[in-house]
């Protein structure tokens, strides 16, 4: 008897696949070598193990990163860099006051750059509350409020006061009795520090600008000497030029070794060594850049040389040209675009390196930065950081444009 597949009435689940399709999928499924599978599993386990080990050893802790009390000050300073400042000088404001009489108005004295000194009321009886207010002075400054007796007589200190973080103060005093301050017209003298003149670049800005200029010149000198030294060496490190004789091969390997060694020691570390040898300052920074540049540029240049087309070189050799002429007319025209691109790229890199070489004493703006941070002067450090970002970004953009034009 024939057996029906599926129910005769009502919806069923998906119709059974035709036998042909199912076997094709099975057919196409890659049969994996069990050893391969095991190897793959093992690699994944090892990778995971390394990841866990890395996490442990580097002590990753996201909580520490979000710690507001540590991050707060420096983040706040980043949005408030110390760019402008004004000179400070002592100013004196004078306001008259009636002792022994009641007044309903206030006395107001104004300073040259917006300072105000207000006494409320303008006159008082002994025992009355008198309010002394001021604004527009230097923040957190100490000052004197003195009272001058009628007729320019005795000059006494009434009270000392201190401005708050906004340069304002607010003092309330009970007017003393008639014996201390007999009735009459007195003059109050307020002597405080106040900002005068128009805003100008702060000392931090001036130092930073100076140091930034030094940093760029540092990068320039380092790159220049790096290029001068590594260009000739790169020819000696190019396999297609040096391959001929045993001596050539030996020189080639020596050059490659030199490049590798000088590349692998990072600029900061070379900087540390140079500071020991020639002392703190930009000279150590330049030397560090040169040493590292020779390795990196040497490698990049020689790779450019090795990537030239051999055809033109062969053709020029066939005309009877000597070695030197072949290099001059066959090799060099082919490598110029690449050399230029590498040099500009490396210049960019050196600008960035020279901003940090000062951290180890190599001169430049890094030196300023580490000082500010060590002194917890985060606003000043913020100034330096912003300057670095802006200048380096600008140079990056400029060299990209130059590279597009030249190459």
């Amino acid at each position: 008897m024939a057996t029906r597949v599926g129910s005769p009435a009502g919806p069923s689940s998906a119709p059974p696949q035709p036998a042909g399709v199912r076997s094709a999928r099975a057919e196409l499924a890659r049969r994996e070598d069990p050893r391969r599978r095991l190897l793959r599993l093992l690699s994944v386990l090892i990778a995971f193990g390394v990841f866990v080990l890395g996490w442990r050893v580097t002590d990753i802790d996201l909580g520490k990163l979000a710690n507001a009390s540590n991050a707060g000050p420096i983040l706040k300073a980043l949005v408030a860099p110390d760019i402008l400042s004004r000179d400070n000088s002592q100013i004196e404001l004078q306001a008259p006051f009636e002792s022994g009489a009641t007044a309903s108005d206030t006395t107001l004295a104004s300073g040259p750059t917006g300072q105000t000194f207000r006494i409320t009321p303008a006159g008082a009886q002994p025992g009355q509350t008198v309010t002394f207010e001021g604004a527009g002075f230097e923040p957190n400054a100490d000052g004197d409020l003195r009272v001058v007796f009628p007729g320019g007589g005795r000059d006494l200190r009434f009270t000392r006061l201190t401005t708050d973080s906004r340069g304002a103060f607010h003092e309330e005093r009970q007017w003393p009795d008639a014996a201390t301050l007999p009735p009459g017209t007195y003059t109050f003298r307020l002597i405080l520090n106040a900002p005068v003149g128009s805003p100008h670049l702060s000392d931090t800005m001036n130092s930073s600008l100076g140091r930034m200029g030094e940093t760029i010149l540092l990068a320039l000198m380092g790159t220049l000497f790096g290029v001068i030294i590594s260009v000739p060496l790169s020819f000696l490190g190019a396999r297609n030029l040096m391959g001929g004789s045993a001596v050539g091969q030996a020189i080639y390997w020596c050059m490659r070794l030199l490049f590798t060694i000088t590349r692998s020691i990072e600029v900061l570390i070379v900087g540390l060594i140079m500071v020991v040898i020639v002392g703190i300052g930009s000279y150590a920074g330049v030397l560090a850049l040169v040493v590292h540049s020779v390795g990196s540029l040497g490698k990049l240049y020689s790779e450019a040389i090795e990537s030239i087309e051999p055809g033109p070189v062969e053709a020029i050799t066939a005309t009877g040209a000597g070695r030197f002429q072949t290099v001059l007319f066959g090799v060099i025209p082919q490598i110029i675009p690449e050399f230029l691109a590498v040099t500009i790229f490396w210049w960019d890199h050196n600008v960035r390196m020279s901003t940090v070489i000062g951290l180890v004493g190599g001169g430049g703006i890094g030196y300023l930065l580490i000082q500010y941070i060590n002194l917890l002067q985060y606003n000043q450090a913020a100034t330096v950081l912003w300057m670095i970002v802006i200048v380096v970004t600008a140079m990056d953009y400029a060299s990209a444009r130059i590279r597009a034009r030249l190459v």
């Binding site: 055809g311 033109p312 053709a315 020029i316 066939a318 005309t319 040209a321 002429q325």
Partner: protein, 251 residues
Amino acid sequence: MLRIEHLVKEYPGGVRALDDVSLTVRDGEFVVLIGLSGSGKSTLLRCINRLLEPTAGRILLDDLDITAARGAALRTVRRSIGMIFQQFNLVKRSSVLTNVLTGRLGYLSPWQSLVGHYAEQDYLRALVNVQRVGLRERVHQRADRLSGGQQQRVAIARALMQEPKLMLADEPVASLDPATSHSVLKYLQQINRDGMTVICSLHFLSLARTYGTRVIALKGGRLMFDGLPSEIDERRFQDIYGEEAVEVEIH
């Protein structure tokens, strides 16, 4: 003018690109070298100007032993042999003029080349040769802006600067379309008729028949045929190119 005696070129591993090849080329001939790829055509040409070092045998150019030349003598020999290549081998970024002038390097000392000091005579020669290949108006253009045929003509002008006795051409038209191939080969033919001995390797037998005064065929590094183009009949063709080969006409 050129005598090749028992030339052998063997690579490490025992592969013989050239196996006991001997032939003589007379002044003024247009010798066409034919054979399958890998039969030794390029190798033979490159051994003549020592771009490749022969393993054994001798090559004599007007009784001067090329194979024994060293240093300055080698340079002197090379400058009397001009060569053009399948890939043209111009310096792409340099102008036509600069490329053509490099043909004169064999006659300059290194110091003169350093300052780019070519003699007035050399500039005159360059002008004449560039005119000869019909590219006078493109003389300051960058080489890579020229078409394939034009680049090969610049290469010819460069070789002519050497005032060579012998012109070698390694598959000079293999990268060019049929019409341009004829155009370039006509220049070579003209130079040959002006007195230059030419040895040129080609893929197409029809081109060999049109331009060659003599055909030499190689197979597996050995000399297979040496005679007139008209002597290659169907049987000879199959000997050279193999049983399955069919001749392709190029018009």
